[in-house]
Symmetry: C2
Subunit: 329 residues, 2 copies
Amino acid sequence: MAKERSGPTMADVAREAGVALGTVSRVVNGEQVGEEYKNKVLSAIQRLGYHYNISGRALRTDRTNTIAFIIPNTINPYFALLVHHVNLALEKRNYKMMLCFSEYDQGREIEYIQMAQQNRVDGIIALTYNPHLSIPEDIPFVTIDRFFSVSVPCIASDNFGGGRMAAKKLYELGCRRVAFMRVGSTLTNEPSKRKDGFVSACVDLGMPFEVMALEDGAPFDEFVRFLTDHMQNGRLTFDGLFLGTDMLAWQICQVLKRMGVRIPEDVQVIGFDGIRMFGDQAYVTSTIVQPVQEIAEACVSTVLSKHLSNVPSLICLPVSYASGGTTRE
Amino acid sequence: MAKERSGPTMADVAREAGVALGTVSRVVNGEQVGEEYKNKVLSAIQRLGYHYNISGRALRTDRTNTIAFIIPNTINPYFALLVHHVNLALEKRNYKMMLCFSEYDQGREIEYIQMAQQNRVDGIIALTYNPHLSIPEDIPFVTIDRFFSVSVPCIASDNFGGGRMAAKKLYELGCRRVAFMRVGSTLTNEPSKRKDGFVSACVDLGMPFEVMALEDGAPFDEFVRFLTDHMQNGRLTFDGLFLGTDMLAWQICQVLKRMGVRIPEDVQVIGFDGIRMFGDQAYVTSTIVQPVQEIAEACVSTVLSKHLSNVPSLICLPVSYASGGTTRE
DNA sequence: TTGTATGCGTTATCAG
DNA sequence: CTGATAACGCATACAA
């Protein structure tokens, strides 16, 4: 087989520079090398346009400086933000990110885990909704928002605290009768605690509330019906709503506007995630903001320091509140 | 050096199965192998939990089945969409995507191109604003929205046609005095043609128009001043606006609302890109939609078929119009 | 400090 | 159709 596109090798550089192969390797890896040797090698590299072959290095060292990040997609702005910050955190540590889009598909998730193993990645970070995902034991594995077992660290924001925060905020802003709505009630993951926190605070405050959870496949219309069922004399019987995600909050706001309900005058709305228009403009709705950068940092430092087995199995990061025009401030 | 995490190798599988190394390789690669040998190998792979090492293969074959995709970030929803579709197009062809975020930084772009070469990727797709980017010759290279030279294929949507389409649409919808606004006038790339197309159609239609382009670093306030300068008796002297991007369209809409201008009653607004809320919900503004999937397909098929040097140096894909509530329909 | 030589896991060539 | 074996480019232990 003719060696086609493949450029010059270390041996070529060594020959060109009149030094030994090992010396070239040492220069490339920034080890201690005599000044004149170093210069000879560097100029030879320049002349030949040498780029070192990462496969050769990986094969030899069995380390790739790569972390696989499994995530449904990049279209959802929250995922996009996560990808951004995880990449930054990895880059800072001189690691590369191998991005894997599961598209919410279990088969793809499994394939990607295999691929990650083939690529001998140094660790895997995964955000998955797959209830039966089997996690490889021989490779550092960290999850976001899903607790699997004590041996698999889970990073999440303080969903329970966020739920409480939403309820308290609505109360402070004058709400006296509220509701929580979410979609996807089957899988119990960390975000499920948003409801628990909300309910807990409502009880503490003595604030009447209702909960409306839609099964995963259920039609969105059921939310609409829920809302119309709670209209009396053209007015909504709630004066505050907390939604499981910003996207749902936005969708519900659209519905309410069509029903003639004014936001935030008639009903105040709080979502969860902290999504901004175009990624960095105004918040789409008033929201409980997830500390995405901190989550990314925690994922990366955890997956990389896994050889210390003293990492906590659940890391919970504090959230904050931000106004986005759907509450009265 | 102790071989640490590294799992079983083909040699281990061969020993376990009682066959030769080459036979294992042939099974793994799906080549013709006797049925009983094949079964022995497959069950040995199962027993040992073998994963083939992609570095070994890459080293031997000098092919990685990987394309590098260089893009500023994933926070901008248009980029996020592009990433999504490029990945899908690659996956369909059994290629992997190595994603590189330039963060609009020229140094990073250069580093990533080097890294791509180290990784021996089979090609590079880049969306860059770097005016002096030097493009490697020894590797298939495709750009989005930037024409470098005839030897570097450029994929773009029909920006000129999109500009014309916007003008005609505004005219059809009753506008008689319009303006075009954009940011970043220094670099002449394909999107610059949006203005040219718009102007051309305005001239054809005999519709009076103004153009307002902001230099890259200039403060956004200048747009605000431009708009306030065009108020007469509390009314905007334009009844139609075309903006260089959806993000700018959205920003301008915010400004106009604060000024008491009603959209679309007083002024109709059209953006460019086709950004949707949360990636897949309603359009953020009325807009000229870029055919993102087709762009991604074109990038991938072009970068992979580069060995045929008969690819066109500029591929221009048709855009479409979509209403997003900022026009009267 | 520098040179030499070996092997990482794989594919491909060549005999059998 | 299968078995044996030689590279691929690199890092590193060891010798000089």
